[in-house]
């Protein structure tokens, strides 16, 4: 038994440790979400949805508060209303290949409806189409695939809806006297941001918004520090500024953090698109009166009803199809087999504690 020194084994065993540590980390990420949403079970409105449909939610990843809200607080409630069987499954890391494996499994389990938020619009296409051939209906939510790979896409909000709500919120916050406002955006070439900003300009041209004057648009590149500095610079540059709109979750949180620690707190208004967990402190300390985002629970709820309507043969997903989605009312399928959830949801001091994402 000849061995030359021990350096190699030691190096190698630290490799084992590294691998084990990595596994341990991914294991420690598991958190049990208390799925305590109790279905109301009053149903009755959508009588022609088949009972006992197997509806599975496949989010980008599990253990994610946003998807736990949309699936367990929304989708599950809907599925219980129409007496189907609900499940949420998915990978612990947001990768397309891992999602493919779960799509294959769901298909083999005879799932009637797969409600999926795509990690990649192309990579999961093959698996989805194979599942559809095997009889499943596919509804995408939050993040779409190629239209050819799914039956319906539930879009959380339209550009128009977002722009209108942002202007309305800043106008309400500033009050009837109006004044100068600025926009803190993400990157200068972000397609969706620019579309929203253009829509906001159109909205500002309306007579009822004549007292609001857009004086500047700056870009925080969706980086916390840069957004913070840009908010600071805005107020230095425009002493009469009355309000800031930041239609990006990173920007609005950074701007709120700056304002809450400055003398402008409560004097300069802020709104935008944010998540309740990031914005809670600033709503409670009065920096922000209200902000918007879609309600993920409603998104999951609508997706479940859309999928069940497809699987029951009530709709086929063609433009003009209408279906009822329980407490949310009636929806119409639009272009490219898309259903729009509606206007963004407004979060303020009175409702923010009901949300955890």
């Amino acid at each position: 038994m000849m061995r030359s020194g021990t350096s190699r084994p030691r190096v190698a065993s630290s490799g084992v440790l590294a691998a084990l540590a990595a596994l341990a980390f991914s294991v420690s990420a598991c958190a049990d979400d208390g799925t305590d949403s109790n279905g109301t079970g009053q149903g009755g409105t959508a009588t022609s949805i088949k009972e006992g449909l197997k509806i599975a939610f496949l989010p980008k990843q599990v253990n994610n508060p946003y998807f736990d809200t949309s699936d367990n607080k929304g989708g599950k409630v809907a599925v219980e209303e129409f007496k189907g069987s609900y499940s949420q499954t998915g990978p612990s890391e947001a990768s397309p290949s891992a999602q493919v494996s779960y799509i294959n499994t769901l298909s083999q389990q005879g799932t009637n409806v797969i409600v999926v938020s795509a990690n990649d619009k192309d990579a999961i296409c093959g698996a989805l189409n194979e599942a559809r051939q095997a009889g499943a209906k596919v509804v995408t939510y939050d993040s779409d695939t190629n239209p050819s790979c799914r039956d319906l896409f539930i879009n959380q909000a339209t550009a128009d809806g977002i722009a209108t709500s942002q202007i309305k919120l800043i106008s309400e916050a500033i009050g009837p006297d109006g004044g100068e406002i600025a926009i803190l955006s993400a990157t200068a070439n972000a397609t969706n941001q620019n579309a929203w900003i253009e829509m906001m300009k159109t909205e500002l041209a309306e007579p009822e918004n004549s007292k609001l004057k857009l004086v500047d648009t700056v870009y925080g590149d969706d980086e916390d520090q840069k957004s913070f500095a840009e908010a600071q610079a805005l107020l230095a540059k425009h002493p009469n500024l009355k309000g800031i709109i930041s239609p990006t979750t990173v920007g609005v949180a950074a701007a709120a953090r700056y304002l809450s620690g400055s003398t402008y707190k409560g004097k300069v208004q802020l709104t935008g698109l944010g998540t309740p967990n990031q914005m809670r402190a600033y709503v409670k300390d009065g920096t922000v009166k209200s902000f918007a985002l879609w309600n993920p629970a409603d998104l999951g709820y609508l997706a479940a009803y859309a999928g069940a309507s497809l699987a029951s043969g009530m709709i086929t997903g063609k433009e003009g199809d209408t279906f009822k989605a329980g407490k949310l009312g009636e929806f119409t399928v639009g272009k490219d087999a898309t259903v729009v959830l509606g206007d963004p949801f407004t979060f303020n001091a009175s409702n923010i504690d009901q949300f955890n994402f």
Partner: protein
């Protein structure tokens, strides 16, 4: 050595392959009986599709680990290959053989860089390939950023996963099988194979006995790079999507299979059959559990525990044998080697 202890040790470890194979059969049979859908041809099609890229990389990596080295950059080589395939397609390259050739050459080059640092500069392969793990992944992001390249011709994408006529099993498994036969023959039936074990057990002694340790290891890294690239081409076409984050974390799955297959992380020991059985075992187990509605968090725990068992199990068995040997040696000369890693043969 005609030492009876060594013979016994050899026979025990020779049977590790059998243990893994048995576990595979057990999981497959129990799964087929108890879990709905785990006996269908489709089930095996999906398991095979998942196992192909892991097996492609595990084949050369087994040899690398037997020589006492490791390559953790394999998944990043795969990722960089994916974006290269995507970029070539964007540039209008429409010849699939050309794309595959460029990808494999690139993979070989990336592997050569690993090999150069390890054998040329004498650096530890763990450190080098953790470095290139980050470096190659970073380069992948430089090429494509957060974009994805899709829209390959359907003949490419369906061609990659086309079943063997008359079955639902993808034909690529035949390629994996052919490569496995080649690697298996080299490892177990040629002087090269014996020299790999020799350098894994004692590189110094191997060198003195005329084996060119450096050159052999260098070429093993090159081959590992090339095979990872081949897996990358398959990955791109199977998912019809080239992204910089393709295959992130896959190196853990491959290393897990190699270790579970009975290859010693310290080098010098292991067989190819065990590794192939381990690839199949991990894939089958995961899919069976998934079908049985076991959540992702639990799945990770199961895989982690298996990996720990595969490292700890043989070690404990070796320790028990060492104790037995000492007891038998009472009255004889005192045992001087209390190795922390017993069961190692020369």
């Amino acid at each position: 050595m005609a030492d009876p202890t060594a013979t016994r040790v050899r026979s025990v470890f020779g049977s590790w392959d059998a243990v893994v194979l048995l576990a595979l059969v057990l999981v497959a049979v129990v799964g087929a009986v108890t879990v709905d859908g785990a006996a269908s041809p489709r089930f095996w099609r999906f398991v095979t599709l998942e196992a192909i890229p892991i097996a492609l990389i595990a084949l050369p990596l087994t040899l690398v680990v037997i020589t006492g080295e490791i390559d953790l950059s394999v998944a990043s080589v795969l990722g960089l290959t994916c974006v290269t395939v995507g970029q070539l397609w964007l540039w209008g390259v429409t010849s699939l053989p050309l794309v595959i050739a460029v990808a494999v050459v690139l993979g070989a080059l990336l592997g050569a860089i690993n090999g150069l640092f390890v054998t040329g500069f004498g650096l530890p392969s763990l450190a080098v390939t953790i470095g290139t793990l980050a470096l190659y992944r970073g380069l992948a992001y430089v090429v494509l950023g957060d974009r994805a390249v899709a829209n390959y011709p359907q003949s490419w994408t369906t061609g990659a996963i086309r079943p063997i006529p008359g079955t639902v099993i993808p034909w690529m498994i035949l390629v994996v099988g052919a490569l496995a036969v080649v690697v298996g023959l080299v490892l177990h039936a040629t002087p090269i194979g014996r020299s790999l074990y020799a350098m894994g057990n004692n590189a110094e002694a191997a060198r003195f006995s005329g084996i060119s340790v450096g050159r052999t290891k260098f070429w093993l890294f090159v081959v590992t790079g090339a095979m990872s690239a081949l897996a990358g081409v398959f990955w791109t076409l199977r998912f019809a999507s080239a992204r910089a984050d393709n295959g992130t974390g896959l190196e853990l799955a491959v290393v897990a299979a190699v270790l579970l297959g009975g290859v010693s992380i310290f080098g010098g020991r292991g067989a190819l059959l065990g590794v192939l059985a381990a690839v199949a075992l991990l894939g089958t187990l995961r899919n069976v559990l998934q079908l049985a509605y076991v959540p992702a968090n639990t799945l990770t725990i199961v895989t982690g525990s298996l990996l720990i068992a595969s490292v700890v199990g043989p070690n404990l068995a070796g320790r028990a044998r060492e104790r037995l040997r000492r007891r038998r040696a009472i009255g004889g000369p005192p045992v001087t080697t209390a190795t922390p890693n017993p069961g190692e043969e020369t």
